[in-house]
Symmetry: C2
Subunit: 227 residues, 2 copies
């Protein structure tokens, strides 16, 4: 502390604190059907947005904006855009999976009291951003960090979050009036929940299974073919 | 619970639990200089990787792999690749910022006991992935969610994390032996820390400042020019 007044002690959390962080991480779900109609208190919403805003960002670029959508007409347009894209999506799956695909509920746009589009302004911070000189997509990555911060905070607040990604880019841009240099990274549905699946919903519904972690971990480099 | 046996009660966390989640979010830092040489216990590392693996992923694609780098020779190659790219980066800034840029320490590759490259396998799950039909980059976004889960878990464990993004893509691919279809999303330095900056380091060092959240929040759509 004497050498640098802005450094503060920062060791491990207490066991109950650590367990709370892991509880948020492990019990977080992608919510489509469990939204309650109750409004989200403004204090809660403020805390969620502040959590998102405290995400890491390349060069402290903070490229995000938060578009809060409560207007029913706007939600209805977004819902229609989802339906158009999802009809296209269903046709892309092999016939044997199509019935299961179509049975899945993949969005709660109109049930969720609040929708939130988190965008990335690719021009923020000017043409040269520290840390972004060799990979221009790091601003998109920063924006996703904001999404995940909000998602975990929401779990702790009893707020469910569902990320809807089945849209034609042009539809979402037109509905939300996004300028060319702004990318809609995540369209989220937010609402109170009183229950959640105890495993990923796509696993509960038989679409996919969680992989074994040990198969995904390598040492020092990607294994050579045949290793 | 009677209608669907896999739904479990899921309300808000207790106040101390919620505060622990926010503590991780608000006190997390991008670490470059505070790494201690002490090894990270394998139980801690396992919990961090498990937290990453419990990130949301599009279509439950789980596109990530985790390359743990402890070998000093590999770290030295990565460090040299950073230096090459960072020399290029410094030259991109206007002259009046170049001295400050060059004074910033932007990586702790060799000080950190463990480096971790989190990659995205763009071919995983086959050619058509649920939720990825209209935006192919959602697999990269899922991988970033894994990074942020790990970063917050690390804060709770007393482990500092630094994301190094200043590399030529081809250098990192060659050193780590990545196949064409695998993207190195994040190169992370991990090590125990006993102190952290109490604000973002780039703010503490006078490079950039945190923006006001209220300037970043919009209602229902992006404001029209002149609004």
């Amino acid at each position: 502390m004497t050498q640098s007044p802005v450094l503060a002690p920062a060791g491990p959390f207490s066991t109950p604190e650590r367990e709370a962080v892991y509880r948020a991480i492990h019990s977080r779900r992608d919510v489509r059907s469990q939204f309650l109609p109750d409004p989200i208190e403004s204090g809660v919403l403020d805390r969620l947005l502040l959590a998102a805003h405290h995400a890491p960002s390349v060069g402290l670029m903070q490229p995000w904006n938060f578009i809060l959508i409560r207007n029913a007409a706007v939600k209805a347009e977004v819902r229609a855009a989802f339906t158009r894209a999802n009809d296209e999506a269903a046709a892309m799956f092999p016939e044997e999976r199509r019935a299961l695909y179509s049975s899945l509920k993949l969005q709660g746009i109109e049930q969720a009291p609040i929708n939130l589009c988190i965008t990335c302004d690719r021009s923020r911070g000017g043409p040269v951003v520290l840390g972004r000189t060799h990979n221009r997509d790091t601003d998109l990555y920063s924006t996703v960090c904001a999404v995940q911060n909000l998602w975990l905070a929401a779990r702790a607040e009893g707020i469910g979050v569902g990320w809807v990604s089945i849209f034609r880019d042009s539809d979402l841009r037109q509905i939300l009036g996004l300028p060319e240099h702004v990318v809609p990274v995540a369209y989220l549905c937010l609402g109170k929940v009183s229950e959640l699946y105890d495993e990923p919903e796509l696993q509960a519904k038989g679409w996919a299974r969680r992989r074994a972690l040990e198969d995904l971990v390598f040492e020092d480099r990607w294994p050579a073919p045949g290793d």
